[in-house]
């Protein structure tokens, strides 16, 4: 019988990885749009995207609980599609995590995109590069750093997610019992030695991740400073 904490570790990493990939696909165009648009709707969208940073996770979790319920449209739709509730499922956690970590992905990436000077895009356009071409061959390589920071933050943030999972996870051992919940359970049931193990592990992991990101950031500082 595998140590349940190892299963929790696997679920946590899987959740963080899938969330980061989804954010990469959905969050990148959003960040690009926010970086470039003059459209009036930006005034609404930007604070909406930033909301999960300030809202207590329990508030988000509470609303998710209501939204995911089969009594309401979204939950009903999912239930009719899959026969399971969106809450208490790994998929539900993914949906929650994507929204919860959205600003942590979008904001650093948006900043990186904003720092790509319009002149480079203009030059590329006159050389015959259309919008997608410009994005993949000019913007993306020049925003490399932004992608790394955004992805890492989204990943690390999801690993640490607790409040939302507490509200909608249902603590299902091989599906929604992530590390932070396992840790909480250990504390609640006074198993402090296990709690220390998990907490210490999470702390070291987070620190290492951030250490690497900041280090890379510093090293890449020297690239792309001068340009003609």
């Amino acid at each position: 019988m595998i140590d349940p904490d190892l299963i929790s570790l696997a679920i946590t990493l899987k959740l963080a990885a899938i969330t980061t990939v989804i954010l990469f696909v959905l969050g990148t165009p959003l960040a690009w749009w926010l970086a470039r648009t003059d459209h009036v709707s930006r005034v609404l969208i930007e604070p909406l995207v930033a909301l999960p940073i300030v809202l207590p996770p329990t508030v988000l979790g509470f609303y998710f609980l209501i939204l995911f319920s089969p009594n309401n449209p979204i939950g009903q739709f999912w239930y009719s599609l899959t026969g399971h509730t969106l809450s208490f499922s790994f998929s539900g956690l993914v949906v929650g995590s994507v929204i919860y970590s959205l600003p942590f992905y979008v904001q650093p990436l948006q900043v990186a995109f904003e720092s790509v000077k319009q002149e480079f895009l203009d030059a590329a356009a006159t050389l015959g590069a259309g919008p997608l071409d410009r994005f993949f061959n000019i913007v993306a390589p020049m925003s490399r750093r932004g992608f790394v920071v955004a992805g890492t933050l989204a990943f690390a943030h999801t690993v640490g997610e607790f409040g939302i999972v507490l509200m909608i996870g249902g603590n299902i051992p091989d599906e929604t019992r992530v590390l932070s919940i396992a840790l909480y359970d250990h504390v609640e049931s006074l198993q402090y030695d296990k709690a220390h193990l998990l907490a210490g592990g999470l702390l070291i992991f987070s620190f290492l991740l951030l250490f690497v990101v900041y280090y890379l950031n510093r090293r890449w500082q020297t690239d792309h400073t001068a340009a003609h």
Partner: protein, 247 residues
């Protein structure tokens, strides 16, 4: 220095002031809070001391007490934490008493006919219970499920019985094993729940511990165990203990 020494000598006096028997600090488990407030409101004249109520999860309150929180009485939702405190602090005999016995119900919102044992046997959807590792209601629920021949419902574990209730209330779980006190408090239609008989699980005994004995604490505990109080407690969805002392 002269003045400093006076200051140091004066410090204990400050603490003594804070521990005045005038205000009684009562820590109560969340699920009993509403009932406690009813009890206090029922006899405003009987209690001659000021009461301060601090509510929370039994576990959190326990941890706070262990770390020095100045509670005088602790009304827990289980027996386990009071037992621990009794042992750790070598409390005088009679400091620990049962004050209520929790009752388990199977709640299926929107049931078309009276919910009973059969519903549980046939149930295959999401069934919300409290976490057995940390909550006595959860342990009781698990015990019930083991004794009954069930068709394997999908067990959703809430952190406590309050969260289990929340799961059912929002419709995410189609049924739940929650506390009788909850469905009474929320005036749920009796048709939609089944009061689980005692034989299916260990009694969910809720015990109190007197951490700081004083005339005020004695008066309060006596009230809690008095007949009028027991009436209120049982009408709130608990059973009341027969004996008053516990080892």
């Amino acid at each position: 220095m002269f003045s400093l020494r006076y200051l140091v000598m004066a410090l204990p006096l400050c603490f003594a002031q804070a521990a005045s028997p005038e205000t009684l600090n009562i820590a109560v488990a969340s699920n009993f809070k509403v009932t406690l407030e009813k009890l206090i409101a029922a006899e405003p004249n009987r209690l001659n001391h000021k009461l301060k109520i601090i509510s929370g999860a039994t576990g959190s309150l326990y941890t706070q007490i262990v770390n020095g929180a100045p509670f005088d009485i602790f009304l827990a939702a289980d027996m386990h934490r009071p037992q621990l405190l009794d042992q750790e602090r070598q409390l005088p005999a009679g400091s620990r008493k049962a004050y209520a016995i929790g009752q388990l119900v199977l709640w299926i919102p929107g049931a078309s006919s009276q919910v009973n044992e059969e519903n549980l046997s046939l149930f295959t959807g999401n069934l919300a219970i409290a976490n057995p590792r940390t909550a006595p209601y959860g342990l009781a629920a698990l015990s019930l499920l083991e004794k009954l021949n069930t068709k394997k419902p999908r067990l959703i574990m809430g952190e406590n019985v309050a969260q289990a209730y929340q799961f059912v209330h929002t419709g995410n779980a189609q049924a739940g094993l929650v506390a009788l006190s909850q469905v009474i408090d929320q005036a749920i239609d009796p048709q939609s729940y089944w009061h689980v008989p005692q034989q299916y699980h260990e009694p969910i005994e809720q015990q109190l511990v007197v951490l700081n004995s004083s005339p005020a604490s004695t008066e309060f505990v006596n009230y809690l165990l008095s007949d009028p109080a027991r009436n209120i407690i049982s009408s709130s969805g608990y059973q009341v203990p027969g004996n008053t002392n516990r080892d």
